[in-house]
Symmetry: C2
Subunit: 343 residues, 2 copies
């Protein structure tokens, strides 16, 4: 294999607070794969908020509670992605294979034997779907809704960051299941998308609601049964204030707290006690037990046009920093993905 | 039946904030039972923090989320208790019957047919046990621990307000089940009681710990699996910060928030997500499905001396206001009860 010069993105230093594009740098280095490594030409790379948590400067106690390893300044940044094998010393893969797994924010990835990589059968769906609706975003939405919240038909479901990578799928799964669904988002355009394209019963722009508690009371005169929380902070407090008896809160993301650690939800614990509310944190990977179910249902919904995947694709390695910075400003609509080369 | 003059306690006005003895008043009124009512001479009356919530001046939205009706200034205050029937027009009860149910903070109670009242078989145990360890406190402790937290042997359990009516039972159930148990309480004497009499593995005085997070790290070097929360606020935050993966928080009480509505727990929702923590509010009455199990196990433990019930009994109707005010100051040790007459 001839020497390949790889271009990839690093962080200059740890990032505490909101990320800036200047926190990132493009580096170039010749690939030097080991004899049983697999070299992948990255096609699509996932851009996810949780990466920011890995970029923080943490003390030991925080590290212990983290679900994945820290990102080191100057080093490659691993991320979920799909790509095509260009060379492999690993007998499990050969040149030309489509693969999905833990790649890097770069043009190529070198994946060691035993690394998180699998052959990808696109099953007739666009490759990018396998990062979003058929990937962890979909599994997170499906598992969070059905396993954590255990909805009943006609229950009232509220989804925050409802046009986000996970939120827009949660709302559609809940609608298809037979729930009443309202979503919040950060612009008029996103609200219209939720109502007109994705079939949410209603949606609102949280930036236009000075009193979130009152807003939720307006949208849920009979109370909220399920809150799929992607944001934390005041929105969680307002949702819990409007929650019905035996309500469930699936805490999937804490976008408000990513860039401001002091921004905390302080829900009324009286309400939690009296209304017997469950607040449950979870990760997509916890739901592998429903993976088969998730895939078969979601593929069916996609084929029959009953579910829509929102993707927000930027192009080129250079767009990764702005794509990442943007997700904390709500710039993206749906799953944020960077495409690094043609399929 | 000759006319009985009943003495009872009322609130003068709604109480917002910490209660004062001057908020209460003793009133006298002739009993006027209806033809099918039951008149009970109250023997023991339960003094519980949740009553304060019923005494608050609330707006409609708060009322809707409350689990029991408001207490009206000037009116009788219902409370769980045990007593003896002195007259009954209800065929289910006759004079001399021992009964347990919803009585009032008074010397006598008039219970309507269909009211919450049942004949009480003391089964050889002191009558007061039926308000505490064999009553709702016990069921709350048992159900909260086993149904909400689902402990495994050798798991690490932290109990706050551990010398309180529910806490001291939770710790003992957890020990008997095979867990490692640490409790927090508000005095040296209470701490000694937990360790020396109740068999807690360890205990500490939270008032002597300026940094609760560091304190819990000291007592749980391997982390907390289960937190039985009776207090809320900073203690809940500190417990969640020290929690292991898949930790469970049973929110039973919010003593810190009763007298100061602004005192809220604002746990790190990142930790909740990454550690997949469950925070679950509940009430004792939710656990009627394990009532038989709770009663048979607890009676066995009591008979064999494996569990100890802490009771703090004041005497006489006049002591009710100070008894009630005291539970918000941590004056009580174990279940707070007022005895109104001899058994």
């Amino acid at each position: 294999m001839k020497a390949i010069s790889n271009r990839y993105i690093i962080i200059r230093t740890h990032i505490n607070g909101a990320p800036q594009e200047s926190d990132f740098e493009l580096k170039t280095k010749a690939l030097a794969p080991g004899s049983d490594d697999t070299v992948v030409r990255n096609v699509y790379i996932s851009i996810d908020p949780y990466q920011l948590n890995r970029m923080k400067n943490k003390d030991e106690s925080q590290k212990a509670s983290d679900f994945s390893s820290a990102i080191t300044p100057g080093e490659e940044i691993d991320a979920y992605g799909v790509g095509r094998v260009v060379a492999s010393g690993n007998p499990d893969f050969e040149k030309g294979d489509l693969v999905a797994g833990l790649l890097i924010w770069g043009e190529y990835s070198v994946v060691k034997a035993g690394g998180m990589l699998r052959k990808l059968d696109p099953m007739g769906f666009p490759l990018s779907d396998h990062l979003g609706i058929l990937g962890f975003s979909g599994l997170t939405a499906y598992g969070g809704l059905f396993e954590i919240c255990k909805p009943k038909k006609r229950e009232k479901v509220f989804v925050s960051a409802a046009s986000g990578s996970v939120g827009h799928l949660v709302g559609q799964y809940a609608k298809l299941f037979g729930c009443y669904v309202v979503g919040s988002a950060g612009s008029k355009e996103k609200v219209a998308l939720l109502k007109d394209k994705l079939g949410f019963d209603d949606a609102f722009n949280y930036k236009e609601e000075p009193d979130l508690k009152a807003a939720l009371q307006r949208f849920f005169p009979d109370g909220i049964d399920i809150y799929f929380d992607n944001v934390g902070a005041e929105m969680q407090e307002a949702a819990i204030a409007n929650m019905n008896m035996f309500g469930r809160v699936a805490v999937c993301g804490v976008i408000s707290q990513y860039t401001d650690a002091g921004k905390r939800a302080a829900p009324d614990m009286f309400a939690v006690v009296y209304k017997r509310i469950k607040i449950q944190g979870f990760l997509g990977v916890d739901n592998m037990n429903v993976y088969e179910d998730f895939m078969s249902k979601t593929c069916d919904y996609l084929r029959s046009g009953k579910i829509h995947s929102l993707e927000d694709i930027s192009r080129g390695l250079e767009s990764i920093p702005s794509a990442f910075v943007g997700i904390f400003k709500g710039s993206n609509v749906g799953k944020k993905i960077v495409q690094l080369t043609e399929e």
